[in-house]
Symmetry: C2
Subunit: 249 residues, 2 copies
């Protein structure tokens, strides 16, 4: 298999990479949000859109102890409220448990596994163990995009994504993942009930999708001409992979 | 940096790869236990060596419901006892919680993170969610080797491995890990107390060492001439990496 396209034919098929990750991430390849936007016919709005007109955010971040980060102008008040609700000491940063709680109000209670991956991908450059208002707003918006993709490709409305739906969902955001890799992903992230396959919940779908996106973007950096192969030194291989191996106490 | 040796000079420096992983693992590169043995001046015995003369194991596995696996001849009775103690239904297989409990008797209570990595690396070819007597005996013996390495390279007897000790420990088993990668490993596996670095506990050291070993062996398969670089297709890159990304519910 000479390129990324698996059963697809275009060698450029994995080029656009939405949903995009935040600009604060220390990886330049994540920063292609402008090209990614054009890939969506309609950029999905972040839930919950209880009020349609976002208005300028209060300058919450200005009062933080660090002052490195503030909510971007136009951040939906529900997003700010979710953050403020858990940042009880008004430090302007939240840790992984607080993030889990904050996202519960707008999305759901994500597993610690997904939360830690999100912390890694959206981490604050000044504080790798916590995230600030800007990172939180980016993360919230990104999850809204993944939510829209999940709903669009869960065609049978089962609340779960099966292998073919996963293939199509990833393809829709520019990743043509080979069948063998899709199978590995399903083996890992499938929310099984005993031996019965149930498919990916939204939680697992986010974790799986973020892993595919993160690794693929890293690989693309080493394969700028989209040949489907990359030459990696041992050092670069290890440096790419190790951060994705989340460890638990 | 053109080879694996980092600050070391030999291009063969990552060749021998003890402690070896079990033959049941579905990866041929893990099966070099014979060459690995010669790398140790004295193969460290598996703890706890309460009796010095191992004797043939009872044919426990013959009574299992599956019969695929039995303790190898010569398995220490303490190892068999640890397995039997947790396999209460006499199925001949134990799951991750039972493994955590079984290892507590001879080693310590490992984190679920390490347990899941061990389950993945030592998994039974017939049942990927549980391990049988043979896998358990292999795993026990392998942990004994890691324990000996830990004790040998924890030179200041702090009970923790610091960055330089980790470098030397990995080098002693054939892996010359570049400084940048060592730093990544310490960032991930260091048992911190707040911002204070404490070094790797034995639990973290096993997890870290197994990850380095597993990934390096996979990389070496793609670099049979030890040039320090490998050309990977997108499919092979993803297929190597994804299994190491352990997911938690």
């Amino acid at each position: 298999m000479s390129n990324y396209s698996g059963s697809y034919s275009s060698s450029q098929s994995y080029a656009p990479s939405a949903p995009s990750l935040p600009e604060t991430h220390n990886n330049s390849s994540y920063n292609n949000s402008s090209s990614a936007q054009s890939y969506y016919a309609q950029p999905p709005p972040p839930p919950p859109p209880s009020q349609q007109q976002p208005y300028p955010a209060p300058s919450y971040g200005q009062f933080s102890a660090y002052g490195h980060s503030a909510f971007p102008p136009g951040t939906h008040p529900d997003v700010i409220r979710s953050f403020e609700m858990v940042d009880r000491d008004r430090s302007g940063f939240i840790d992984e448990n607080e993030l889990q709680q904050a996202l519960s109000s707008g999305y759901q209670r994500f597993s610690l596994s997904t939360i830690r991956l999100l912390m890694f991908l959206f981490r604050n450059p000044h504080d790798s163990l916590r995230i600030g208002p800007k990172e939180f707003a980016d993360l919230w918006s990104c999850l809204g995009q993944w939510r829209a993709i999940f709903e669009r490709y869960d065609r049978d409305r089962s609340g779960k994504i099966d292998l073919m739906e996963l293939r199509d969902a990833l393809y829709s955001i520019g990743y043509a993942v080979p069948p063998s890799v899709l199978q590995l992903l399903m083996d890992k992230y499938d929310n099984r009930s005993g031996s019965r396959k149930l498919g990916l919940s939204f939680d697992s779908f986010v974790e799986c999708g973020m892993v595919v996106k993160g690794l693929t973007e890293k690989f693309k950096e080493k394969d700028p001409r989209y040949t489907g192969s990359a030459t990696l030194t041992y050092e670069s291989f290890m440096s790419i992979v190790i951060p994705f191996i989340v460890s638990y106490d």
